[in-house]
């Protein structure tokens, strides 16, 4: 935040490079071969829904657009305890991470274009294996970085798995280096 913005008491933040989401499909392959985590076939965008007609209209347009794809199941929408909305997209073919990422990118872009980019919190792509291990790749919208989130029971994280995922993907994704920012998203859809 520069001096001019400090003096004006106003922050102008620009959105990050959303194209980083398209790096996820190759990262998914690495996760599968390296750690044995398979894509869950879903993905979700977490945002703060603004009050008013404009946001409702935009959201229904995006949902309509994504539902028009005959190959994909319907988009689901849910609200969490913190008042954030999660739009979850899915694919019947769970290996189609690229398709999921395209949908997630579309949701992010639509919010940005309508001026609601500041309400975007994160994008999540969940993974899991037969043994019950779960881990999500969380894309922090403001930072433009990824971090792993692995819940283990209620309110407990599997830090070992998270570090493993981080090390496996360090070369492929921009990983969040500040561990303080590895925000827990308990009860996120798909995890």
């Amino acid at each position: 935040m520069g001096l001019w913005e400090t003096l004006r008491g106003r922050r102008t933040t620009s959105g990050p490079n959303l194209d980083a989401l398209f790096l996820v499909p190759s990262a998914a392959v690495t996760l599968q071969t390296g750690i044995g985590l398979e894509p869950a076939g879903t993905g979700s965008v977490c945002f703060r829904a603004a009050e008013g007609a404009a946001f409702r209209q935009m959201q229904s347009e995006v949902v309509e657009l994504l539902n028009a794809d005959p190959e994909a199941p319907d988009v689901r929408s849910s609200t969490d305890d913190y008042g954030f909305t999660w739009l979850t997209v899915a694919r019947d073919d769970t290996t189609d991470v690229a398709g999921i990422c395209t949908d997630l990118h579309a949701v992010n872009t639509a919010l940005e274009e309508q001026g609601f980019g500041s309400g975007l919190l994160c994008t999540l792509v969940p993974f899991g294996d037969a043994g019950g291990r779960r881990a999500g790749l969380v894309y922090l919208y403001r930072r433009g970085t990824f971090y792993p989130f692995a819940p283990k029971g209620p309110q407990q994280r599997d830090n070992l798995l998270e570090i493993q995922v981080r090390d496996a993907l360090a070369a492929e994704l921009p990983i969040e280096t500040d561990l303080q920012r590895w925000l827990a998203v308990w009860g996120a859809p798909g995890l």
Binding site: R11, R48, E51, A54, S118, Q155
Partner: protein, 301 residues
């Protein structure tokens, strides 16, 4: 090009810049006056005055926490409060401040600290009981905006002219009492310095309050855009202000020094209220929030 939903508020920016410019002008006037009237002491008074301002700013978090008898809490003790702040910080792309609780029934919240990295956001137990989670989030977003806008630093810099002027008035009194100014020119210098410093102190007092009100409006605006729910902040303000008004003034004296960092003022002045209050009137704040609400809801491009 994505559209922007920020309300155009050139008026506020212009007024705020003017006030800051005038405060800077006052500081320059004070230094020049001092060099002219009290050349021997000017340097020391100036250094001590600025030193005090820097010290206040540097220790603002500790001093405020102590004044409010607040203590820091961990995520384990208050998971919901930390959860809200975690998410707001992630959306606003700012480091997470420390979180404090003050056990008092007055519903209020404040944020201080020398920089966003050393900030502390504190709420009273009263506000947590009175507001819904959504409203509490709106209040916290307002406080985090103070942190992001570095309002403690801005207000300290703005106040430095007043602090130095106060020091100078002391210095002039000291000079007069201890007879350093037996000569006629010396006496004129001391009296002149006293008058100038008092005038500058008075002007800077009103300008500071004006600046404080503008900064509050900025924090309201930024907070509303962060949560995307201006109405939640509006109802929170109405609840808090309504509560505050019912509390007798005598009970609130202890919190007077903290007013500049509260979300709603803890005193209600009787005379010169609009000129000297640290916070804008409820009507003004609600009016701005309504404009943001309208802008967020606008459908046509």
């Amino acid at each position: 090009m994505p559209r922007s939903r920020f309300i155009k508020d050139t008026g506020l920016t212009v007024r705020m810049s003017t006030v800051m410019f005038l405060l800077g002008g006052l500081f320059v006037a004070l230094i020049v006056g001092m060099m002219y009237l009290l050349p021997q002491y000017a340097f020391f008074i100036g250094v001590i005055g600025i030193g005090i301002a820097v010290w206040q700013w540097w220790n603002s978090d500790k001093a405020a926490m102590r004044a409010m008898r607040a203590y820091e809490v961990t995520p384990e003790e208050y998971p919901e409060l930390h959860g809200i702040i975690d998410r707001l910080c992630a959306m606003a792309e700012m480091p997470k401040p420390r979180v404090g609780i003050a056990e008092m029934d007055i519903p209020n919240a404040f944020a201080t600290g020398r920089s966003p990295d050393r900030a502390v956001v504190c709420v009273t137990t009263g506000i947590m009981g009175k507001l819904t989670p959504e409203e509490l989030e709106a209040v916290l977003a307002h406080e985090l905006s103070h942190v992001a806008h570095r309002d403690v630093l801005v207000m300290t810099v703005a106040a430095s002219a007043g602090i130095v002027a106060g020091m100078m008035a002391r210095g002039a009194q000291y000079g007069a009492f201890f007879g350093r100014s037996r000569s006629k020119e010396g006496a004129i210098g001391v009296v002149g310095a006293l008058v100038i410093s008092l005038v500058i102190y008075a002007i800077s007092f009103f300008l500071l309050r004006l600046l404080s009100r503008y900064r509050e409006l900025c924090a309201d605006r930024a907070g509303a855009y962060l949560t995307m729910k201006p109405a939640a902040l509006a109802t929170a303000l109405q609840k808090i202000s309504g509560e505050m008004a019912t509390i007798p003034q005598g009970d609130l004296r202890a919190t007077k020094s903290m007013n500049a960092f509260f979300i709603a003022p803890a005193i209600s002045g009787v005379t010169l209220k609009t000129l000297t209050s640290t916070h804008p009137s409820l009507e003004q704040r609600l009016e701005q929030l309504a404009r943001i609400q309208a802008e967020l809801g606008r459908t046509e491009p």
